[in-house]
Amino acid sequence: MRREIPLAICLIMGVVMTVQFFVPHAASQWLFDNMMKWLIIIAIFALMLGLLNLIKIHTQKVINRRKDWPYSIVALVGVVGTLITGFWGIGADSPFMVLYNYIQIPMQATMFSLLAFYIASASFRTFRARTFEATLLLIAAVIVMLGRVPLEKYLGGQWLPDLAEWVLDYPNMAAERGIMIGVGLGAISMALKIILGIERSWLGGGEKG
């Protein structure tokens, strides 16, 4: 009961959604459109669990005065405050959107922009001509970097941007396609094993039994 029923549901849904793909009929479209909504709804219920987990962990930190507990208060105020302002209203000028625009967006964008620093430090630290392969990687990276900025005047014309574009369009694209085809096969194989109940770790148990 505890394992067989979920496995059976999984099998049925997997087959149904595979077949659905090939059926253009209105009934099939109805199923597809609704399925997309349903899957999101299931995920949102899980999100509530996630939020409860977040709140629980930080509350425990505060109660037990664990290391860095004052910051847990910040997280709790953040989550509860956003929820309260959110159920108040989410119009364009609502407190909720102000929080979003002036707290969440700037911090997210700043985290994202840290990449400019990290991409520089990673290039310095790791692009070393240790082996033949590493050297290829390094040279391709340097060519494309130089080809992307306007240096035609200093580096003798258009050849560098052209070369950079060619490297991106051919060798790079070939490698990407090769990876993607392999990934597609791996994904189909994994999905098949899940539908057939061979891979059942999503049940939460070990892989067998």
């Binding site: 999984c10 099998l11 849904m13 959604m17 595979t18 793909f21 349903w38 899957l39 299931i42 995920a43 949102i44 219920f45 899980a46 999100l47 509530m48 669990l49 996630g50 939020l51 977040l54 910040v74 997280a75 953040g78 405050g81 956003t82 959110g86 002036y102 700037p106 911090m107 964008a109 700043t110 985290m111 922009s113 840290l114 991409i119 290829l136 040279i139 391709a140 990276a141 494309v144 992307r148 950079a164 490297v167 369009d169 060798p171 790079n172 070939a174 490698a175 990407e176 396609r177 090769g178 993607m180 085809i181 392999g182 990934v183 597609g184 994904a187 189909i188 999905a191 899940i194 939460g204």
Partner: protein
């Protein structure tokens, strides 16, 4: 332009600097910003999902569905919203240790449906489309004998590249695929081809790395512009 007088711009600027302080080292300012961001973003998402999905796709159809059922005695498609509603409740059983296993029914539905979508989607987008793209680029075959003829007749960089790029693309895809053979030892023909595959992979990774720098620097420019112009008003 002058320094900003908006309290919110000041808050945004202060939080921006808090995050940047992590570049020096972990510190209380970063910890504060980090925890605030986690809390606010988690709450934001639930609110948005609730208003954009739960209300229109669960509550509203349930309400109209049951209203028509009870007032007109007619079952409509809206009642199908019972399905995700029940599955959602099953997910919540995880909170109760005794019946927590029932959440697996909902998970079976969720994982099963996605596997069906993944099988068809992967075949279409990751396999067939990539094979097609290997042969046809921008509505033209990637290579032809005619291009080699051009190369012989008017030898030069342009015609050489034009002729060899296509075959190189096909070779690259085949060699990369060969690298991913798992059930044979990489020796002999397979081993040699796989080595060529590694060459393509490394050139591809390097190129892709170099290509991304510009987008990342753009983000930094965006943030610095915010600090210098919106907040401090130094530049305009």
């Amino acid at each position: 332009m002058h320094i900003s007088t908006s309290i919110w711009v000041w808050i945004a600027a202060a939080l921006t600097l808090c995050i940047y302080s992590f570049l020096y080292k972990d510190n209380p300012f970063y910890k504060f910003a980090e925890h605030l961001l986690v809390g606010v973003s988690a709450g934001y998402l639930l609110v948005i999902e609730f208003t954009n999905n739960i209300i229109p796709n669960l509550f509203t159809p349930l309400k109209t569905g049951f209203t028509t059922l009870f007032t007109e005695g007619r079952a409509t498609g809206d009642l199908a919203a019972i399905i995700p509603g029940l599955l959602g409740v099953l997910i919540l059983t995880r909170l109760l240790p005794k019946v927590g296993w029932m959440s697996r029914w909902a998970l079976g539905f969720y994982f099963g449906a996605w596997q069906g979508l993944i099988i068809t989607g992967s075949m279409q987008a990751s396999i067939l489309a990539q094979i097609y793209g290997t042969f046809i680029q921008g509505n033209h075959p990637v290579f032809s004998i005619a291009l080699f003829g051009d190369m012989v007749n008017k030898f030069g960089w342009g015609t050489l590249i034009g002729a060899i790029s296509g075959p190189l693309m096909i070779l690259g895809v085949i060699a990369t695929l060969t690298y991913f053979f798992f059930s044979t030892e990489h020796k002999g023909l397979v081993g040699g081809t796989a080595k060529i595959g590694i060459v393509f992979l490394m050139v591809g990774f390097g190129a892709s790395f170099g290509y991304t720098v510009m987008a990342r620097v753009s983000l930094l420019i965006g943030r610095i512009n915010f600090l210098l112009s919106d907040w401090l008003g130094i530049v305009h």
